[in-house]
Amino acid sequence: MAAPVPPGAPRPGANARQQSPHPNFNPNFQTNPNSLADNMQNMNLNRPHSMPNSGPRPSPFGQPPPFPQSSVTAGFPVASPPMSRPGPPPGMVGRPAVIPAGPPQTTLPANVPPGRPVGLPVSHPPPFGSRPPPASLSSSTGGVVLPSSAFPSSGVSSASAAPPPSGARPSSFVSSSPLTGGPAGPMSRAPAGPSSNGPPAVGAGALPGAPRFPPAAIVSQPPVGPPPSMMSARAPAQAPTMRSVLGSSAVSSPQTPPLPSASSPFPAMTQARPPPLGSPYGPQTWSMQPQQGTQPPHIPGSTHAQPPRMFGMPQQALPNQAMTNIPPAMGQPGAPMSGSSKIDPNQIPRPIPNATPIVYETRHGNSANPPPPATSDYIVRDTGNCSPRYMRCTINQIPCTADLLTTSAMQLALLVQPMALPHPSEDPIQVVDFGESGPVRCSRCKGYINPFMKFIDQGRKFICNLCGFTDDTPRDYHCNLGPDGRRRDADERPELCRGTVEFVASKEYMVRDPMPAVYFFLIDVSMNAVQTGATAAACSAINQVISDLPEGTRTLVGIATFDSTIHFYNLKRALQQPLMLIVPDIQDVYTPLETDVIVQLSECRQHLELLLENIPTMFQTSTTAESCFGAAIKAAFLAMKSTGGKLLVFQSGKFSCTYSTFAVLEFLPSVGIGALSSREAEGRTNISASEKEAHKLLQPADKILKTMAIEFAEYQVCVDVFVTTQTYVDIASISVIPRTTGGQVYYYYPFSAVSDPAKLYNDLRWNITRPQGFEAVMRVRCSQGIQVQDYSGNFCKRIPTDVDLAGIDCDKCILVTLKHDDKLQDGSECGFQCALLYTTVYGQRRIRVTNLSLPCTNMLSNLFRSADLDTQFTCFLKQAAIEIPTCPLLQVRDHVTNLCINILLSYRKFCATVSSTGQLILPEALKLLPLYTLALIKSRGLRNDGRIDDRSFWFNYVSSLSTPLAIPLVYPRMFAIHNVDSKDGDESVLPPTIPLSSEHVCDDGIYLLENGEDALIYFGSSVDSSILQQLFGFTSVDEVPTQFVMQQFSNPLSKNFNDVVNVIRQQRCSYLRFTLCKKGDPSGMLFVSCMVEDKNANGPSYVEFLVHIHRQIQMKMS
């Protein structure tokens, strides 16, 4: 296959390492796809026409601001020297400002009169002009919260702190400099000056470690009072640093890098404040773009030791959070409304990616450390709580009462990804073997021993942190307590000091011997599949992937093909050639052999290879149009029933057969068939006409597949379906099976024999080689007062408390919603424990226990401050996906919007101190919520115009989607690639991201947009032909082919482009499916539809949406 980049690192397991002592495959070893910051940077690009990426863009403030900004901008010549301006230290600075009192808010500049801010402690920044260091401020405030951006920002900030190098690009500049010289100063200070926004004080406290930067949050604490930043205002003066960034993003600024810069900024801030009003600059002049994303990671994986910064969470300390005010155009949506202002699109909150990995300790000083954004790059040190990769909560403090939670309008839920891929620099999960007796557990709730169980009475008893019961310590587990009340051996025992450990399961956890690793491949060979090349692609992919399967006698494989009948193959070595066994009775299928259909890989490798080579030709002349998907998987299931295992189905034909098949069982055949054909017809026409019908099509056609799926799950058969098709295949029905059995659907539509085989291979390879487990059971236990309400994801649930996972892998995430059944004690901690009992591919039975203990609070403001944007949004996303098949789309969209509005409303009502209704005030932590919500509304799954199958795929894909991938799915990353060669050598491979707005897309540019699954390459209409030639080998946009295969040409541009793609692939663990888009083509429309900030048929522009939200809040307030 062409240049396949393995999506993930090779399975560690297989390789040498694994063999070693711990056969356990720890995912850890794997190379981690670096998760780069997924965040999109938010750029302040002002109409960047001219320079797309380069950093400093003068932002002409377009419309609004009375402020000089515009002028400023103007002043600046385009890109070039961004730095010139002594910008206020960008975001960072701003961030820190925490306002003790009220939640600080950053206001959007628009309406607010400048004066306001001043007075208020918390203040809302005056509209634009007023606030001096608006950005900074805001950010600072914001900073508190760890917005996803926080991380990165910190880095940035630091950078910013440093004197701006002359560097032309802000970004580079920023990034590079971070810690270095510049920082030093600030750092030290930081700690010192708590008062200031500076990160320091608190931070320092929190992190003894000192050298690290205090987290942004900390910074913010300072009561300084700086009002929440206003967006606009930016005091130029103050900003010692010049973060152009900040400036630019008035709004955004908040999020920007809190930390580092913070230190310096502070001062500014303070000052800024007052003056702000006047400050002409306002905002923006600096158009720089903070492209922090680019920064080269400081910490290469190796450097664990001293990661430059810690991600500290000051939060606890800080009472408030900052908020960004969005100065909305007041009442009116129309920007111009209040004469005062319009919203500056460049200043509204946008995600800012972080650059370098941060080291994050899960607990600090015996309290939980709020995790960095899921989409950022971080390295976890497990100090008692689990890595947030495994489990994270929507709110990092648990409301003591259900009422409090209801008031906040937020959801309380956990996102659990028990086998998530760790960062390569993280320590592997430790395996603990308690021998035959098995792990120590609470005798009442059966919770597993964990660091939060409290040992008392000289260690003779322990109190369960989950149910509160006092158990006797097993004699051979007894240990005396030290002076600190901990067991003396606590630090030596992983289960007592680590949030995540893995126990070796004893006999009592097995109902049978651990199952072998069974891989059964089922390939569609109907006429259509063969002719479109799908069969050949599948065979070739399988053939290549065989060598990646674990070695040894425990690995069993089987293969079958199907069209209107099912063909099994006897691969026994004794035979001269494989024997094809056809099961023709698809009404009522069965397996054609008890043995020999699934054989040890080592015994049949040659036969298998031969067979895979032959299959495409063997069926070349097939004229069978139907493919009996349902019957085929049922038959394959029967063959696997005794062991369980993975069933990998390559389906491309029409799905029809199944229905007629099963219909016969239950109904009159004609009814079944008839019903089907109409369904098919409707599916083909992509009906969007009647919503009602659409629902039906989004639901499985009948219950038979569901029943089957449950049976599969019961026998531990995990099904993955690779749909390679050119037509409607009824994903809604097909996906029931993977969803129930812990598998997933891969969707290649329209399948291209040219470009898709590589992806198919890589998807398959990752599917097989990624860390995974079989025959798993998972349960989440919570401390008293909280209980699990429901689980959702790809699994089968037979009893309410457990989920059964025929297969679980590192990419699967489960949403666990929680509810109160009692009050919690303020100041106490609430524990969550996820236990996953599973069998490794090497046949060991293990229990992976993941613990998270979070503080409880009675303060609403704490909730907002500790809200986890990524998790909350993922939760939204998944819930919306659940509703899609049963509710009209309009209703789903409204629901999503209302969730967003209600949270903001609650915040506005109970936490914000702003009195004017003229400002939209966002909690710092959730300031991107509106943007993501908007993106969600416009996403493929919630749009009206999508194909039925696309929508089905979308909501099924979402159901198991992990948090880090959820955001890019709706708010993809966009990069410019026509100038990927122009960056400096020391930066990270990825170019800066660009906001998803068409105003940032130039006609002479080429852009790459990726959401973790698909990638669009967009060609402007007047792209330089030499660039085209260098990157793609053709010279005119007219020659853009419909199908694309990555190629590397020998020029730096092409090399860089390939590097970029490969980095993205690694990050996403996905090979990406490329689509080439050309302006003026239907493909171009596809690209345009991804510009979520634009106004289009599917929804308002970002600005309009903010206005809409604001109005809604206003209405509800009054």
């Binding site: 024997l579 023709p584 009775d585 054609p592 052999l593 043995t595």
Partner: protein
Amino acid sequence: MSEMANMDPEGIDAIRMTWNVWPRTKVEASKCVIPLAASIAPIRPHTDIPMLPYAPLRCKTCSAVLNAFARVDFMAKIWICPFCYQRNHFPPHYAMISETNLPGELYPQYTTVQYALQSFPDPNNSNAPQLPPVFVFVLDTCMIEEELEFVKSAMKQAIGLLPEHALVGFVSFGTQVQVHELGFSDMSKVYVFRGSKEISKEQVLEQLGLGSAGRRPTVGYLKVLQNGYTNTGVNRFLLPASDCEYTLDTLLDELQTDQWPVQAGHRASRCTGVALSVSAGLLAACLPGTGARIIALVGGPCTEGPGTIVSKDLSEPVRSHKDLDKDAAPYFKKAVKFYDSLAKQLVSQGHVLDLFASALDQVGIAEMKVAVERTGGLVVLAESFGHSVFKDSFKRVFEDGEHSLGLCFNGMLEINCSKDIKIQGVIGPCTSLEKKGPNVGDTVIGEGNTTAWKMCGLNKSTSLTVLFDLSSTERSNVPGAANSQFYLQFLTSYQDPEGKTMLRVTTVTRQWVDSTVSSEELLRGFDQETAAVVMARITSLKMETEEGFDATRWLDRNLIRLCSKFGDYRKDDPSSFTLNPCFSLFPQFMFNLRRSQFVQVFNNSPDETAYFRMLLNRENITNAAVMIQPSLISYSFNSLPQPALLDVASISADRILLLDSYFSIVVFHGMTIAQWRNMGYQNQPEHRAFAELLQAPQADAQMIIQERFPVPRLVVCDQHGSQARFLLAKLNPSATYNNSSDIAAGSDIIFTDDVSLQVFFEHLQRLAVQS
């Protein structure tokens, strides 16, 4: 012992009748005790039968074929049908007919003639190619390796023997049925059907991809002719033997015993029923009119799916006669019903089921009998696939040449008979076609209610027993010569092994006699051997079909009635009883019949009984008589080989006996002979005579074996040896342990309480003369 060659009691017509002279009335007929019946061998070859290369002339009212008994008016070119007296004109091409220029069928000696017909009466295409015969092998794989090897090699040999153009299909089965697609060249490919589920013909066709398209004869007909054979896709499964021999060899080499696990204490799961259904379904895709055989090689009882005869649990034995009697065989009726429907399907397709069962346990022949017999299939029961009974018989099926069975397909028998004669039915390998007519009898025996029968498969030796009755209406006893003769005409059309369609017409005439006037004539027309065989067949039939039928009593009563009617005696004086020589052998036949495996079923398994009866019904009279009353030949120094009494007294220390009981041939060495042989005298030149004596019975045994199908089991034993029981069981127990004092030296005794022939006769005489 080729009696046929020597005596040929059946002659050119291959017909033997119980009575060669018939009483005129139904009442009289019933007084004759032994029913009016004819045993016919419809296609027995005979050198004197003329082959006529044209179509026969048929009477326009009764459709009887022109025959030697028709009266012909050469001037008017008219012939008068002897059955209905209809006057028929000769068609124009008979214009040359004259007293000196007779067509073959009018020669008086040619009472049997054979017409060669076109396979398809297609006026447009007179050169229609013949359809090649089809052989579908259905192989059980639930057996031990060794047996499987035997049967594989037998199959390979058989395939080598098939004519090159014959189409071959292969189905193997165990827990599931595997239909091998021999025409798939890329790799071995099989269709697998589940064994537990009954499957209809339509399902089989659809699932094999032979769906309805093209199966309708009207559609496919012409194309077929163009292709040589069907265009329905069935040639994926059925390939000319020459094309697939290699494939099949390879396939057989790789074929393993059934891989599904068998629980300890359980029988293998074997779905014979479904396998046969599927094979029948596969053949349904062939064109109508194709001659096809399903050759089932079965190694054990069906335990899975339809046709199951016993559960898998070994603690439950396969049903015995006792179970059947007591209705304690839970699977029996269902299985019979299943095979009955299979038989119907096969008959409607015109295909044959052959059953080769080799197992120590029963395999369910009793249940499958209906399918085999109705389709005219062959059946062989052996203990092992390695045994010569199977091996040699199986080979015989496919062998060409002198001893070939002459397997023919798609036979149809029609019978025309004179007015007042009714046909009650036919016993033997055929199926009633339910063709009604004036000659159909009111009571039905065997396959009745018709004047036409289908014989999907038939061969040279196939025999049928036709049972007649007389019209109950008092005839207007028209005096006159015309009425003194009656006629029977048997028309048998069939496809010969080369695929040509033939029609054999046998017309016979017999005399009416007024038995009230002259019983002498009637007596002379009695055929004891035929009568015995017909009685045996009827008895078997009644035992199978009539609940609580007491065969022994029924036979005894009839024998007594017969003796009362035809014996000479004074009332109540047993000693005065004498029997006309024409009847003299009959009582002994009855005595042996009573003791035979046909009546004394309890010594045998239901499978064996079914097997014996099927052969009894399909063999000619001579062979059937041997089944009832074995022949015994004695070899000694003193005399030429000579028939010996079937009596224990025939055993002598210095004799060798050769017993032919049809199913087994026993060479029995007297004690002295055995001793001599053991001492090796036969190897010494001076004792050549002894060597020859030893050799003679062996040679005779081989002769019998060669001609017989199925090949009998050869038992060579010595007096007092354990195998001697095969002989002793058949002998009249004139000497038992009860009267062992008065036996000749060197003879033997039989440990039994059975009555001896002498005792039987005494009783018979006494009862016959009772008033």
